[in-house]
């Protein structure tokens, strides 16, 4: 005789281990992100673009045999004709392989595929734009909720019949494909609890803060490919960050040589020009745009400049004055110098602190450079950063936005 017991557990026994596993994945993604940032393929791509991130450390390694001629496996061919030397469709053999010890490994794929937007989400999770003051709000939106995507949990009235049905159909098709169900079977294929999908309602903020971000870049001939690459990565991250954090944000791209030009995002990242460098032209363009379109009382203004630090000497004084003027009505102005010839202070064991005006280890070499001349401006509203290689973008980023390590 057997006994029967209805088991009503309150505790979800696997919950803790699932959380642990998830943490491992996220950690692995975060670790890989630094490599991905340095990878060119992310730049200028659509936010929906999928990126494969190799996730390390959550694979379970064991001694297994290599996949080669000596390691013969056995299968059943049923009624199919089979002869020696016949090529086999790899997928057919691997599909649904059993999970006994030993043969479950080797085929585990632990590349996680995420979109650029998700990548940005991971990347910027611990970053905040500083000093976003409460200002007059340009955008007033209707109160209440709005639909934003779907969730697996929700209340009955928000059930999305369409999404739920889609999931059921998908499950059914897979079941047929996996051979668990006959395609011509009339048997009911019931909905399952896990098919249910609900509309997700996101509270719509009554007011949203408005910010405008100016990306200024030197695209003159002295910007080498390598420098451009660093600049693009840097801006890309800033851009993704802002897009991710704020719904109502406007971005203005200004590229310059001796003349500045307001361009589209696409042009900004792709444009290659020849000519000299007059940084003031870009700043003037910005000031002009601000005065016409973005009144500082209504907008939080951020300015990010990137260049190689080579500016016409005649233009330096004007540039500094304009930077100073911008600083007054900006939340933050960041001057980034991309200069791979300079030794990075971090590599010399120095403390990485650009905000410290007394840090002059290498700036004495050229007292007439913007880098040196802007020192008096440096405070928590004006920052200058140095980028000598792509791998520094991330620490620089954290530094700008003051995130804790």
């Amino acid at each position: 005789m057997s006994t029967f017991r209805e088991h009503k557990s309150i505790v979800d026994r696997s919950a803790a281990d699932r959380v642990r596993h998830k943490k491992k994945i996220e950690k692995a993604i975060k670790e890989s992100i630094k490599d991905v940032i340095a990878d060119e393929s992310i730049i200028g791509q659509n936010g929906k673009k999928k990126i494969r991130i190799p996730v390390k450390g959550i694979k379970e390694y064991r001694f297994v045999y290599g996949n080669n001629e000596k390691n013969q496996r056995v299968g059943a061919a049923g009624k199919h004709n089979i002869r020696r030397g016949q090529k086999i469709n790899q997928k057919r053999v691997q599909k649904g392989h059993s999970a006994g010890p030993g043969n479950e490994d080797g085929e585990e794929k632990y590349d996680v595929e995420i979109t650029l937007e998700e990548l940005a989400e991971y990347l910027f999770a611990d970053l905040e734009l500083p000093e976003l003051e409460k200002k007059r709000f340009r955008y007033l939106s209707a109160d209440g909720l709005r639909q934003k995507g779907y969730r697996l949990e929700g209340i009955r009235p928000r059930l999305s019949k369409k999404e739920t049905l889609k999931r059921k159909i998908r499950r059914k098709k897979k079941a047929i494909a996996a051979g668990i169900r006959d395609s011509d079977s009339n048997e009911r294929f019931p909905f399952h609890k896990d098919d249910l999908k609900y509309h997700y309602m996101k509270p719509k903020p009554k007011k949203s803060t408005a910010a405008v971000v100016f990306f200024l870049m030197d695209v003159s001939g002295s910007m080498t490919t390598e420098k451009k690459y660093i600049a693009r990565s840097y801006f890309f991250l800033l851009y993704q960050f802002l897009r991710h954090k704020y719904d109502k944000i406007e971005v203005v791209f200004v590229s310059h040589t001796v003349h500045a030009k307001r361009v589209t995002e696409d042009e900004f990242f792709k444009r290659i020009s020849v000519g000299g460098t007059m940084m003031s032209s870009a700043l003037e363009t910005e000031i002009e745009v601000i005065s016409k379109e973005y009144h500082p009382d209504s907008w939080n203004i951020y300015t990010f400049y990137a260049g190689d630090g080579e500016n016409w000497a005649d233009d330096n004084e004007k540039t500094i004055n304009l930077l100073n003027a911008l600083k007054d009505n900006n939340q933050m102005v960041v001057y980034a110098e991309i200069n791979e010839r300079r030794t990075h202070p971090e590599e010399e064991g120095a403390v990485l602190d650009w905000t410290n005006p007394s840090f002059v280890a290498w700036e004495n070499e050229n007292p007439e450079s913007i880098w040196t001349l802007c020192v008096p401006l440096v405070d928590n509203r004006f920052k200058r950063v140095l980028l000598t290689k792509a791998a520094q973008i991330w620490p620089v980023f954290k530094k700008i936005f003051g995130a804790k390590e």
Binding site: T3, R18, G85, V93, H97, S98, P101, G102
Partner: protein, 438 residues
């Protein structure tokens, strides 16, 4: 949605038990836990054990089954049973009556197999649950201990899991400590008249090849503190539970399928149960193209034994064999041919998989041998402790049987072993015909 009650389960169970007893089956009492689908997924992730120590890999297993199930790529198992006494089995509440009937009859088959098969002879089923419970509690305490914590615990368990199948493949033999073994050898040398022990070096560690890498590390590792050593032992002891199952997967499933078929036949199920039952049964024993379905293979073999030699012979076979000896004794040319078994491998030079042998007159024995080489633990490379040198260098060797290791994996495992051992580690294998040292 459900079409059953506990009372009905009870009444069908009585009938099943009666029929099974008439067939001469002898099984442990079975405790059925009725659980929902989420609990079923959980139970699966912890290999069915109602208690198990915590580890993220079980969370990973859960997510994986959950994803697969939701994608419709897999059904949930109708049956899962633990080799304990009483046997513990799960019935999924969402299932219908006919599935429960199949499951219960199937579980009686498994429980009978556990109780009678030689591989399970020394597994102390009474102690399995308490053992796992104690292990789970110990691990929990370590995780909660502020001076240890989850990271430290995972470091050890991660490393141990990489070698969890590096244990002896014959179940139920107790490992002797080095001191005890030394004593035995000393006695043997004293009694030795033939001279075969003349050159025997009693100072060697280990005195004979040690196939239990975790136990060896736990016994001789000098860089582990007490709780770390205990953790290594916990993983090592848990691993032994899975050895007999891995050695008898084909037989065990085949036997359970054969028995559920025979039992249900005697039950005279009403049509509303019988028709879906037959369908489900056919699904279970379905041949899967390109793979060997253990349910199918085991069932067909037992079926054939019954045809040729009677049911008594089946009862005997289920007692004395394991998958290796079972296949060797009963997988004949006709069966290989019927199932159309073939061997295949990956051809590096051509970057494709192709058929090596088919089950014709010339090839079937090779196919059978390839199958035997890949069933259960045979698919896992054997690594043993050869020597611990004076400076505590651990020398491991791969027992090479023609199949080379996957070096990417081996390298990672090697690092794990280094982590556990703390002193120098050497690992020897053969790669493309040449001796290879890590």
């Amino acid at each position: 949605m459900t079409d059953w009650s506990i009372a009905e389960l009870d009444s069908w169970d009585s009938k099943i038990c009666e029929v099974a007893a008439n067939f001469g089956l002898n099984w442990f009492n079975i405790d059925y836990e009725i659980i929902d689908y989420h609990e079923m997924l959980s139970a699966m992730s912890y290999t069915g054990l109602p208690t198990h120590y915590r580890h993220w890999s079980f969370g990973k297993a859960y997510e994986r089954s959950h994803t697969l199930y939701n994608a419709g790529a897999t059904g949930l198992p109708y049956e899962m049973i633990i080799n304990s006494n009483p046997s513990i089995s799960y019935l999924m509440a969402e299932n219908q009556m006919y599935i429960h009937i199949l499951t219960m009859a199937h579980c009686v088959g498994h429980s009978d197999f556990f109780k009678n098969n030689r591989m399970f002879a020394n597994t102390s089923p009474e102690l399995i649950i308490p053992k796992f419970k104690a292990a789970a509690r110990y691990v929990k305490e370590l995780i909660e201990d502020p001076s240890v914590g989850i990271e430290e615990v995972e470091t050890i368990i991660d490393a141990c899991h990489s070698i969890k199948y590096q244990i002896p493949r014959y179940p139920g033999i107790k490992r002797l400590s080095h001191d005890r073994l030394k004593q035995l050898y000393a006695e043997r040398i004293l009694d030795d008249k033939s001279g075969q022990y003349d050159d025997f070096n009693l100072d060697k560690v280990p005195l004979e090849r040690d196939y239990n890498v975790m136990a060896f590390i736990s016994e001789h590792g000098r860089n582990l503190n007490e709780w770390q050593r205990n953790l290594v032992s916990i993983v090592e002891e848990s691993s032994h539970y899975f050895v007999p199952q891995a050695l008898t997967k084909i037989m065990n499933e085949g036997w359970a399928v054969l028995m559920h078929e025979k039992i249900v036949k005697e039950l005279n199920l009403p049509d509303k149960y019988h028709i879906p039952f037959v369908k489900l049964h056919n699904q279970v024993v379905r041949a899967q193209l390109g793979q060997v379905n253990p349910y199918h293979l085991g069932y067909r073999m037992f079926k054939k034994i019954e045809e040729c030699h009677g049911f008594e012979a089946c009862l005997l076979a289920r007692e004395v064999h394991n998958d290796i000896t079972f296949l060797r004794s009963y997988l004949d040319e006709e069966m290989c041919h019927d199932l159309n078994l073939f061997s295949f491998s990956y051809k590096k030079s051509k970057d494709h998989i192709s058929v090596d042998e088919t089950s014709d007159n010339e090839g079937w024995e090779k196919v059978r041998d390839s199958l035997i080489k890949t069933v259960g633990l045979n698919s896992i490379p054997v690594i043993y402790v050869e020597e611990m040198q004076k400076d505590h260098t651990l020398v491991l060797r791969h027992e090479h049987d023609g199949r080379d290791l996957d070096m990417r994996y081996a390298k990672k495992v090697f690092e794990y072993i280094q982590e556990l051992w703390g002193d120098e580690v050497k690992l020897f294998t053969v790669l493309e015909g040449d001796l290879w040292e890590f």
